[in-house]
Symmetry: C2
Subunit: 356 residues, 2 copies
């Protein structure tokens, strides 16, 4: 597929941040990147691993004007056996294609995408951190590059993979976060792009995100754009609740991103005999459960944090404190299980890991 | 504001396309571009007119990932007195700021934006075509440039203006177009970004646009995303109807772009004693008017075409032919008046023109 990956060694490798440096998220980048171009009529061309460095585009390149840009996010982990593994990269490749389709962008061979990621990780394997909880964040993305101002699908694209070592999301163990339930701005609507991982969705969310920050909240919990009533997702996480012993999560309505962590958690819970109900959940349901004391746990799920316990939900000016702000049992078990699989402490019975 | 505009002459000027060359739209670019950068804490810096040429960005530049990108579109015309004029550029500067605000991007001094456009047009004045109906299309845009993968507003931006000579939209006079009424995909929703000119809106529209093309339609007429019932706008145009002698256009609902051509047309019609009703218009209203023979005219309005007569609307598989596919009187009068003002044949009584 697309030919062999050409390799060009970076002659000026950077110093890899040491184990005591605070990595943050997406601040350091490795020495190489993967790149491949698409030309209408020819398909994807010239796959290559080259030194990490600037991209050059005509100022009329369509990505700057009409926003054809999609991305993925996944991680490589160094296990306790010194293997380097990816968590369900096939799912990211699939979702990347769904995102491309939504924005009229060409699809990619999914196996090849995984191979490209593996090859790049192998080249920069020394960048996969050793510190417990740290990992190498991998960012595949596709952008339109044709120079032209007509509103239409571009005839040229680049598929690029860059990588960044990232610290543990919770430096001091799991921490509950405050979340603002957003009633004014909309993230997505049925028929829109909410179920695709497209750049424009994130730009559209920044205003609400800023309001959340002003209210001492880490993220926004979005309501559906039509009735302003049904829960959708949290910032860049899906959301789960435990109410009266039952675990529920918003069903995939067409405006929610189908998270790979969400999918994995649903799978694990089923294994454990704790089936998750995927259904419409209104904010009124949550308020009611809160009031009658059956709102036991709430948490977000996503690649960055795995799970993120919600300590309180701010809705119409009033905070609903969940589980007295303590971290629930379920969140703990899920966190320990998924990170356990990722770092090799727990057997990977679902074959979710792919070795690099 | 922001200091004087530095000028760097392009040592390799291109050959300007001759009067007989087909210019198309946004295919040729002039010799220079305007550029200015923003740094958090310092504001907008180093305004400059430099040779048109590639932009260089880190692959982690936020515009590629989180879609903070907004733009404007306006034209410079060469009048019959050999002046070069802009049509209401202050309105574009205002709208640019509204778009920036929606995506948490820094604002620009509006007078300075107009001055920057004027300066750039003066430098590349020879590129303003002489052929009747041709003009110089001007594309100001702002993109986020900080390298980083956290989802947040960028701390760095570039404001860039590029220009492209464009041919007459109607090479052989006004031509009616077929339009597909889109019932599945959504362009925008209240609380979203539909009333801002942001890149992501256009990427989201391409799928529906492709379906329109397959159905021999030039563009999509969007319905509101909530009830899938109320008309919004057409591709990159606002839409007007004449029904039983009355002129109506969808009111600004929060999900429609406020077109400058729309605004100007509303103004002209009022001058002429033909007030426009801005109201909710459902597709059922249109079907009814069509059936009882009162749907007299329909047209799109926008910078590119000024006005674009709609020959037929394809709704649920059935075309509604308007005015027997002929161009209405109103469309003609509006087209002649606005282009008359732009090219200096009709007196600019509203002070819409700004000389470069
Ligand atoms: C909008 C949105 N929702 C949910 C998620 C969670 O998806 P995943 O579990 O695949 O990381 C993400 C992050 O990727 C996201 O950006
Ligand atoms: C979505 C959309 N609607 C309407 C318009 C018409 O606006 P204007 O008349 O300012 O060109 C445009 C074009 O700018 C547009 O992109």
């Amino acid at each position: 597929m697309y030919g062999t990956i050409r390799f060009e060694q970076n002659p000026h490798c950077k110093t890899i941040p040491g184990p005591d440096e605070s990595l943050g998220f997406g601040r350091y980048f490795t020495d190489h990147m993967f790149m491949m171009d698409y030309e209408e009529g020819q398909g994807w061309l010239d796959p290559r691993i080259i030194p990490y460095g600037p991209l050059s585009h005509d100022p009329a390149a369509m990505v700057f004007h009409y926003g054809q840009a999609v991305f993925e996010g996944l991680k490589a982990f160094r296990t306790n056996k010194e293997d380097i593994v990816l968590f369900r990269p096939d799912q990211n490749a699939k979702r990347l294609n769904r995102s491309c389709e939504r924005l009229s962008m060409p699809s990619l061979d999914e196996d090849f995408v995984v191979q490209a990621i593996q090859s790049l990780v192998r080249v920069d394997a020394n960048w996969v951190p050793r510190k417990e909880g740290s990992s190498l964040y991998i960012r595949p993305f596709v952008i339109s590059t044709e120079a032209g101002l007509g509103v239409r699908a571009s005839s040229r694209y680049s598929f690029i993979i860059i990588m960044s070592p990232v610290g543990a999301y919770y430096e001091e163990g799991l921490q509950p976060v405050n979340i603002l339930v957003e009633g004014h701005f909309a993230r997505a609507v049925q028929g829109g792009t909410g179920n695709a991982k497209v750049a424009g969705n994130y730009a559209a969310s920044l205003n609400a995100q800023a309001i959340a920050k002003e209210n001492n909240c880490a993220q926004v919990l979005w309501l559906d754009a039509v009735e302003k009533k049904y829960l959708e997702e949290v910032g860049s996480m899906n959301v789960f609740f435990k109410i009266n012993g039952e675990i529920i999560t918003p069903s995939l309505s067409g405006s929610i991103l189908e998270g790979i962590t969400r999918k994995s958690i649903i799978h694990l819970l089923k294994d454990w005999g704790l089936p998750v109900k995927e259904q419409k959940i209104s904010i009124d349901d949550i308020v009611e459960a809160y009031k009658n004391g059956t709102l036991e746990e709430a948490f977000g799920t996503g690649t960055a944090a795995v799970v993120s316990p919600i300590g309180s939900l701010l809705w119409q000016g009033t905070p609903m404190v969940i589980n007295q702000g303590h971290i629930g049992e379920l969140v703990h078990r899920l966190y320990d299980t998924i990170t356990g699989i990722q770092f090799g402490r727990i057997e990977d019975t679902h074959s979710w890991l792919v070795t690099c």
